[in-house]
């Protein structure tokens, strides 16, 4: 028995080695080996999960034999992430996506050492050589959700549960305020931050404070919002506008709409560019190129008045054809 298993292992090993060699000789289109570095986890129901699902969608389309995926989670600290990124590059991964704006500096440092590897990070816009930067125009969908909240709020108080005033959150909150302002100048948008991305207890507490202070519409960004969404669900009588991905499964009676990021389009673009040997690009996710989408929760859609939907649709068309630009803070 024991001898047989040894023989089996040797045979298996030999086959692997031989096929690996064979593969290399006849490789015309190189197999894509993609590594994904995530600040939180693939099941955070927000920022990281949406990107993970995007990558998996691309893999499904290309086939597992053409694309290999490795994921490292919980690397919110860029220094730890840097070690993982180098390891992936050393192991021959050819595309490494570090999913967060905090990884920009780390990539700037590592990328020159591995000219054949394509690196990507975002939210960001500085792309060059072998560094791609992807850039969701979070303010666009935020503006549309601002219209929903602004037209539907009864208390005229709208609460934002923000993480840290940076990257995606700034763009989202800025766009959201403009959307509310455009349809209901009397409504007050109250922006508060927890100072963390992942503290769901703090986010829940912040949502409770917003609701105690009279807010009937709530929104927010980052993975911590799941705590706030649950607090809103338990409180009842308020709506949540979600971002990153459709979070309505968490609270089907509370999450009224969602700005969804179609990361699969970004991942596909990076792969295409890599295969063509192109240099790093600034990849924008917008309504115009279809990488952003506004989804209504089918269960609550009937509660949205037609005039609100019309206003949203009109603004969306204006954003797409460029007649309406949602402003970003200057700097």
């Amino acid at each position: 028995m024991k001898r047989w298993s040894w023989i089996l292992i040797v045979v298996l090993l030999l086959t692997t080695v031989l096929t690996a060699c064979g593969g290399k000789q006849e490789a015309q289109t190189e197999k894509i080996r993609l590594a994904l570095i995530l600040p939180s986890t693939i099941d955070d129901m927000a920022w990281s999960q949406s990107m993970y699902e995007g990558v998996m969608a691309v893999q499904k389309e290309m086939g597992e034999d053409k694309m290999e995926v490795a994921v490292s989670e919980r690397l919110g600290n860029p220094v730890d992430a840097g070690a993982a990124i180098r390891q992936y590059a050393d192991q021959g991964y050819n595309i490494i996506i570090a999913h967060g704006s905090q990884y920009q500096n780390v990539l700037e440092e590592i990328a020159p050492d591995y000219p054949d590897v394509s690196f990507a990070y975002g939210t960001g816009y500085e792309a060059h050589d072998n560094i791609f930067a992807y850039d969701p125009q979070a303010q666009e969908g935020a503006y549309l959700q601002g219209i929903i909240a602004g037209m539907m709020t009864k208390s005229n108080i709208i609460g934002v549960v923000g993480p840290v005033e940076a990257g995606d959150a700034i763009k989202y909150n800025y766009g959201f305020q403009q959307g509310v302002e455009a349809v209901n100048p009397d409504a007050e948008v109250r922006i508060a931050y927890t100072g963390s991305f992942g503290d769901i207890a703090k986010a829940a507490e912040l949502a409770k404070a917003h609701m105690d202070a009279g807010a009937d519409f709530l929104t927010g960004t980052a993975q911590q919002v799941v705590g706030a969404i649950n607090a809103a669900k338990e409180h009842g009588g308020v709506y949540w506008l979600s971002n990153d991905m459709d979070q309505s499964s968490l609270a089907p009676e509370t999450v009224i709409s969602a700005q969804v990021y179609h990361w699969e389009k970004v991942v596909q673009q990076i792969i295409d560019a890599h295969q063509k040997g192109e240099t790093g690009k600034h990849i924008v996710l917008s309504f115009a190129n279809g990488a952003l989408e506004l989804k209504y929760n089918p269960q609550l859609e009937s509660q949205i008045p037609q005039e609100v939907k019309d206003a949203v649709e009109q603004a969306k068309q204006q954003i797409i054809d460029g007649t309406l630009t949602v402003k970003l803070p200057e700097n």
Partner: protein
Amino acid sequence: MFAQLLHPDVIIGILATGVRLATPFLLAALGEMFAQRSGVYNLGVEGVMMMGAFSGFWVTLTTGSPWLGVLAALLIGAVMGLLMAFISVTLQAEQGISGIGLYMFGWGLAGFLFRLLVGYVTSVDGFHDIPLPGLSRIPVLGTVFFDHNWMVYFSYLLIPITWYILFKTTWGLKVRAVGVTPEAADTLGVSVARIRYTCVIIGSMLAGMAGAFLTLGHTNMYADNITAGRGFIAVALVYFGRWTPLGIAGGALLFSTVDALQLWIQVLGIDIPYEFPVMAPYVLTIIVLALVSGRIWQPAALGRPFDREG
């Protein structure tokens, strides 16, 4: 601009939030107080809290009973406490290092088990608020103190209970003796190892319960890193409170109330850069620590393994 803060509803909101936010700190820090009083500092509180948060959540998710969830968190806490006691008391390892090890172990294991056993964000039906009859009707105080779930009440009851145990019982006297001069306690026939084991395990069980409060009495869900550093703040609060239940309670309430205040300052749209409110509780804690640290007393044998021969 600050006038809104003086509105009675807002003041009540801030105080009630502060009382609720203090609960995990109280549970974890009062437990850690026992461990440190007996001479062992357990820096692994955060990891035990993570495991308590996860096990409480998972058991509630699978059985539907948050009571079983709390029980599971207490058991897991006891097991992790036993591990810490074995390493630091029996094997006499350096406590700081083993505590950090315990933290990383609990933090990693909780995330791993969550992936293995649950794997998606979901919520449970946790503990509900129980307004205390009569008491909750008292204006202001009623809402602030007497309209919470039982874990909040329990954590406040622990303040007098732990005070009584530590200062008025023979066992409490032994704990204090072991934490100051274990050699003398040993000659008087007190088993240093047994006292330390018991204290570390009690502390760890309360830390597990503090974690379960986050998932079953506060957010009713679990997410990666839900403790977000609260375990380390609890350890700091033990120093802050000078190893006394009242001091720890004061520190926990001060920290949490300032935290609640800063949330409300933001919610009311008072125009200050948000970084200042967010850091206020921490800054305040540092200031108070700096002011009181002059003649600080601490258990003399804290961090020192006891070896009869040595």
